[in-house]
């Protein structure tokens, strides 16, 4: 046994030196201006030039990359990245059961890994130990933050012009919604259901979350805004007491919940929203992924809450 270990440690030492030499040789190949930025975790990231082989660890990052025109530069994406359709053709690097497939990531020979605030820190650390560059993109807290994130990603992949065009277009659309919604005096109370597995205590989005913001921007009032946390549980009794005007089913896509199912729930039939049939399925990906489709989410919600106001 000890002989085996000492042999392996020797092998390890030699391979470290070899890998180290190989890496220094590669970094001289790029002649573009070096990029130095500080990421969301406070780490200084240096790239020799715009990243050409990016691995994205979270769907929102994948969407941003494609939106700024860097789809060709993505060489790996996590299991949940499904938009746009072209993303599905990119090699899957795991993340489904909570663990990333380090081997496939290494094989893709990335020069940049785009992680997020919710990527487990030990996974980020493990990737860094293997000599990979990991940039942590923090979740934005408002739309300005979202636009900043888009700019940051664009800088990393050398797509600044496309990013500005995108941001301009998104801002215009956002402004259009704000202008249309501002004069309205009626703000429907919205119950946004994240998970209705237990109909007596469904999960909704609390105050300060992006769902909360999107509802507010779309001219509604989030029933869950008094609650704390991204996932907050609320009792059906409170829902009945507040009596929301509209129910949005964020669990329609992933959970298969339909307005009929909601109408059939015990105690829900007395709700205003149920009786007026103001229950709508909603693609949760539009509001839970901090990417350019948030604006799609705002428009979609504004159309549901205030039909006819947006042209």
């Amino acid at each position: 046994m000890p002989k085996l270990f000492s042999r392996f440690f020797l092998v390890f030492l030699i391979s470290i030196i070899t890998v180290g030499c190989a890496q220094t040789a590669q970094s001289d190949a790029n002649n573009a201006d070096p990029i130095t930025v500080i990421d969301g975790a406070g780490e200084t990231i240096t790239l020799d030039g715009p990243a050409q082989r990016v691995v994205s660890l979270i769907p929102s990052n994948t969407e941003i990359l494609f939106a700024v025109g860097a789809g060709e530069q993505v060489v790996g994406r996590d299991s949940f990245s499904d938009f746009p359709a072209a993303a599905l053709d990119i090699p899957d690097i795991g993340g489904g059961f909570g663990e990333l497939d380090t081997e496939t990531i290494l094989l893709a020979e990335p020069d940049l890994i785009l992680a997020s605030e919710i990527t487990p820190l030990d996974q980020v650390e493990a990737l860094k130990t293997l000599g990979l560059t990991v940039y942590t993109l923090n979740d934005p807290v408002d739309f300005e933050g979202l636009f900043e994130n888009i700019r940051t990603v664009a800088t990393l992949v050398g797509r600044n012009t496309e990013a500005e065009t995108l941001i301009a277009s998104l801002s215009t659309r956002l402004e259009a919604v704000n202008i249309a919604i501002a004069p309205l005096s009626y703000k429907p109370i919205v119950f946004y259901e994240l998970d209705g597995t237990d109909p007596n205590a469904p999960w909704t989005a609390g105050g300060g979350t992006f769902v909360d913001k999107v509802i507010a921007t779309a001219g509604g009032f989030n029933l869950g805004s008094d609650l704390n946390g991204a996932y907050a549980q609320i009792s059906i009794e409170e829902i009945i007491q507040v009596n929301p005007d509209v129910i949005l089913l964020g669990d329609a896509v992933w959970g298969g919940v339909t307005p009929e199912i909601v109408t059939a729930r015990a105690g829900w039939d007395g709700l205003k929203a149920v009786q007026a049939q103001q229950i709508f399925p909603f693609d949760d990906n539009l509001v839970s992924r901090p990417g350019p489709r948030l604006i799609d989410g705002v428009e979609e919600m504004a159309r549901l809450l205030h039909p006819g106001v947006l042209e």
Partner: protein
């Protein structure tokens, strides 16, 4: 088959399992290339016509992972055999007196609180798991003492009671930290995420010391099978031996689960399989279970990594799914040879 020269067979299986572990992975590296890579690194002969990524994959991902799994399996197998001898119970496994539930609670607490990450870095979860396991066993130990003895019955009962409490606390924390649910469940089913050689270095002292001691307790465990009173009359310092075996087995198991999560069945089944093939002599049962545990976990881990590539299934699922039927099959074909 393996009655004669069991160690030869065991080390043979171990070598095969270790090779398999390095060969299998989500990236297909041909056997010949692997052979040449190892040859090149040991003796620098041959041309390096493989991508640099292969080197990183084999020497920084697969090799340390293989050693980690080997140590974990060995730890679980060895302490499983020791627990079965200590409790004189064929259903004893290393998790009996709260190591698993304590480690689970520790790990889930670490995942729920983000602040310790700044202090301990990414060793936070294993450290919390390790100390959670030790604390829980200490509580069980204190609760189970009767006068100055440690009856196995009270130990088991206290273990069950404390385990129920820690499991409930763990479930509550799981519900309260929805963001970490996936990861927590994955850890609880047996999936470690830290790669590289540092976990190996952290685990090694505990595993070596624990298993090293347990190997020497073979004779004492044999005598303990006759019962506490008999063993005492035969010259074994029963209480002292019980405590030492408990400490060693617990340290080993705690270190094993701290990095690899809760992997079941290895500690329970491997000693039985060794017993069926070789017999109940603890002087050989413990070392053979150590090797057997390593082999079993390496094989299970290879399956876990390849069956749903690029996803990695938690190893605990494979050990549970495969372990039970395999054990039943062995039991059927060797019924007459069993002595507990």
């Amino acid at each position: 088959m393996a009655k004669s020269r069991p160690y030869l067979w065991s080390f043979g299986f171990l070598f095969v399992a270790m090779t398999l572990s390095v060969v299998i992975g989500s990236v297909l590296i041909p056997l010949s290339t692997l052979g040449r890579m190892f040859l090149h690194h040991i003796s620098s002969v041959g041309q390096t016509d493989w991508p640099a990524a292969y080197e990183t994959i084999v020497f920084q991902v697969r090799l340390p992972h293989m050693v980690l799994v080997l140590l974990t399996g060995a730890g679980l197998g060895g302490s499983g055999a020791a627990y079965q001898g200590l409790f004189r119970n064929p259903l004893a496994d290393p998790y009996l007196i709260g190591v698993a539930s304590g480690a689970g609670l520790g790990a889930v607490i670490a995942m729920a609180l983000r602040w310790p990450v700044d202090v301990l870095g990414f060793f936070t979860i294993p450290a919390f798991a390790f100390f959670g396991a030790l604390l829980t066993v200490m509580v069980v130990y204190v609760l189970a003492q009767v006068n100055r003895t440690l009856p196995t019955t009270t130990l088991i009962l206290a273990g069950v009671a404390v385990s129920s409490f820690t499991t409930a606390a763990t479930s509550f924390l799981l519900l309260a930290s929805a963001n970490e649910l996936y990861r927590a469940l994955s850890w609880l089913l047996g999936g470690g995420t830290i790669g590289g050689w540092s976990p190996v270095g952290a685990m090694l002292p505990y595993i070596l010391v624990g298993l090293g001691y347990l190997i020497t307790t073979g004779h004492q465990l044999n005598v303990l099978q006759f019962g506490d009173e008999q063993a005492h009359q035969l010259g074994i310092p029963v209480e002292r031996v019980k405590r030492l075996i408990l400490v060693a087995a617990t340290l080993t198991t705690a270190a094993a689960v701290a990095f690899s999560g809760l992997i079941g069945f290895i500690g329970l089944i491997v000693p039985h399989m060794v017993r069926i093939v070789y017999g109940p002599d603890y002087r050989h049962l413990v070392p053979l279970s150590i090797i057997g545990g390593g082999v079993a976990l390496l094989l299970a881990d290879a399956v876990a990594r390849s069956i749903l590539a690029p996803q990695t299934l938690p190893v605990g699922i494979i050990t549970a799914l495969a372990g039970a039927p395999f054990f039943l099959w062995i039991l059927r074909t060797a019924k007459s040879n069993i002595h507990w």
